[in-house]
Amino acid sequence: MVTKNCTESQLLSELYRGMYRIRFVEERIVKIYHTDKIKSPVHLSIGQEAPSVGVCAALRPTDVVFGTYRGHALYLAKGGDLNRMVAELYGKASGVAKGKAGSMHLADASVLMMGTSAIVATTIPHAVGYALAEKFRGRDTVVAVFFGDGASEEGVLHESANFAALHMLPVLFVCENNFYAIHTPLKSRVPMPNYCARMEAYGIPSRKILRNNVLETAQTAGEMIGQMREGRIGPAFLEIETYRWREHVGPGEDWALGYRSREEAEPWIRGDEVERIGCQLDLDVRTSIDHAVEMEVETAFRLAEEAAFPSDEELLTDVFQ
């Protein structure tokens, strides 16, 4: 959208719509999770809507993304099919992956979300390989890969960054720094959280977005992507500070566990980016967005509830192509 030269207010309502939609879906999951209809781990993005929405606003539909097990936000931001996503969470045959994948493995070639993984950091090199292929074919596709602060400790990020920089590949590395890997804070994992400096050592232009700012994310990503597309830079790196409001996995809050405090979260919750952007819209615009989103989500959950589980024969299909 940033690339589409739309007006600022159009952009704002798009960003709001994207974030509110994710938020509303996630809240809906929270509501029904206790019924045990979703019999699989869910890693919610409540509080972390901005990075996916901001970056995807700067991508074209022909651009490609890779993500993680915390993938609802990215799937929706990239234009994924809400009905098929919810059905997938329910393990239904109408799900994106016929129920074989579940929440942790959302991917959909039709919107060029080309993979997610429950093994941290594994899709990072896939993005690099995809970009290599696209460059090889002379296309100007950009590939964005989303991962957490924890993922950045895996050696594969460094190997991938080195290779992407070496071959000047159009990969946008997006690190959603939510300060925790499960319950482990940054200070138990890195001597200093200077992710940009680490990537700059490979000659990769790097920028840090503070406080979950969706507009800045969209704009900065847009600049970087523009330069990539023109071949002026190879890969780029974007660190986005964000915050997970819910437990690492599951629908609950986890202040009681003691690994982080409610006080620490307070500014993030008070400064809620969904609300902050929502406030900047005309009330009637916002209301109509909200209404449309809520209808859509209700429908998706209803369809998922009504849908059938895969048949027993599905167990043995799809191992090979």
Binding site: S40, K100, A101, H105, H183, V249, L257
Partner: protein, 352 residues
């Protein structure tokens, strides 16, 4: 911790915890590390307060760097420490194969016996609540294939404690396979430290009609299967190898010589598996002795699906095991035992 040797009921998880505490008390060189070991959930309680009891230096969290952390453990072991490296999912070991197989398993031999790598790797196997393809693997076969590394898969609280202590005291790398469906199992455990000798299988039920060797959580299902079978007059001898490498071929062979039928129920895929190994070992040992029948069972030959109806079909269970045993004994398929999903599976709830 009192050492009057009371025998109490403990859960599998608590037995592992007790083993670790006792060894940490005994030997200052023992330390525990891995992602989340000191977190509020404490690895199902198996590492819960070790950092409070023994200090943060002896139970600490790490960055997400499985490959290097395995190397760090090996380096510490070379310096005389006895690291226990904990993995929340055995699947993550695929990031450590180079250090485990190219290094840990080879260091003693390659340097002519001059080095030792006393390393314990705790590999927790996931199942249920939609773990899916990447959080449910049990890769013991990979380690059984390679000389220089031991593999144990205790199934009772008693063996969990004894194997853990033996693994910690072992001067070689040992992979301890722990199935998360076993953690809440309860059983009698002596309070004093003791070791369970590697390479000794346990005969859990006696029977003359059929030998069932089962691995990890499948032991629990196999014992249940033996009850189903008893209802139709078939008496199965259920064997828990406990230790997979070294493997107690003798106990299994002796049983098969008696029963003439061997059903092996693995907790992994069947092809090139521990089950293959056990069948091959017995087949070789028979030296042409006629009339023994064999059957392997394990995961369906697919990655583990997430959705519950398919996940249910993916794993063997007490009923399918009993059916296979019935068929092996009778050559018939005219019986379907009644029963329902095992409690530990049905009751396991997420979100984790």
């Amino acid at each position: 911790m009192s050492f009057s040797n009371a025998v109490r009921e403990l859960s599998y998880a608590d037995a592992l915890y007790e083993a670790t505490v006792q060894e940490m008390e005994r030997d200052d060189n023992v330390f525990v590390f891995g992602l989340g070991v000191d977190d509020p959930k404490g690895m199902y309680g198996t590492t819960k307060d070790l950092h409070h009891r023994f200090g943060a230096k002896r139970n600490f969290d790490t960055p997400l760097s499985e490959d290097a952390m395995t190397g760090v453990a090996i380096g510490a072991a070379l310096a005389g420490m006895r690291p226990i490296h904990v993995h929340q999912r055995m699947d993550f070991l695929l990031l450590c194969m180079n250090q485990l197989i190219n290094v840990a398993a080879k260091w003693s031999y390659m340097f002519g016996g001059a080095f030792r790598v006393p390393l314990v790797v705790r590999a927790i196997v996931g199942r249920s609540w939609g773990q899916g393809a990447q959080h449910s693997q049990s890769l013991h076969a990979h380690f059984m294939h390679v000389p220089g590394i031991k593999v144990v898969a205790p199934t009772t609280p008693h063996d969990a404690k004894g194997c853990m202590i033996a693994a910690i005291r072992d001067n070689n790398p040992v992979i301890v396979v722990e199935h998360r469906m076993l953690y809440s199992n309860r059983g009698m455990v002596p309070s004093e430290p003791y070791t369970v000798e590697f390479g000794k299988a346990r005969v859990l039920t006696q029977g003359g009609d059929l030998t069932i060797v089962a691995i990890s959580h499948m032991v629990v299902e196999a014992v249940r299967a033996s009850h189903h079978l008893a209802e139709v007059g078939i008496h199965a001898e259920v064997i828990d190898p406990v230790s997979l490498s070294p493997l107690d071929a003798q106990t299994i062979q002796t049983s098969v010589q008696k029963t003439r039928r061997l059903l092996v129920v693995d907790h992994s895929w069947v092809e090139t598996s521990a089950a293959s190994e056990i069948v091959a070992l017995v087949a070789e040992s028979l030296n042409g002795d006629p009339g023994v029948r064999f059957k392997r069972m394990g995961f369906a030959p697919v990655p583990c699906p997430t959705t519950k109806p398919l996940e249910n079909l993916f794993y063997p269970n007490s009923r399918t095991i009993a059916q296979a045993g019935y068929r092996l004994v009778t050559n018939r398929e005219d019986w379907v035992p009644e029963g329902k999903e095992a409690n530990e599976i049905a009751e396991f709830k997420g979100p984790f």
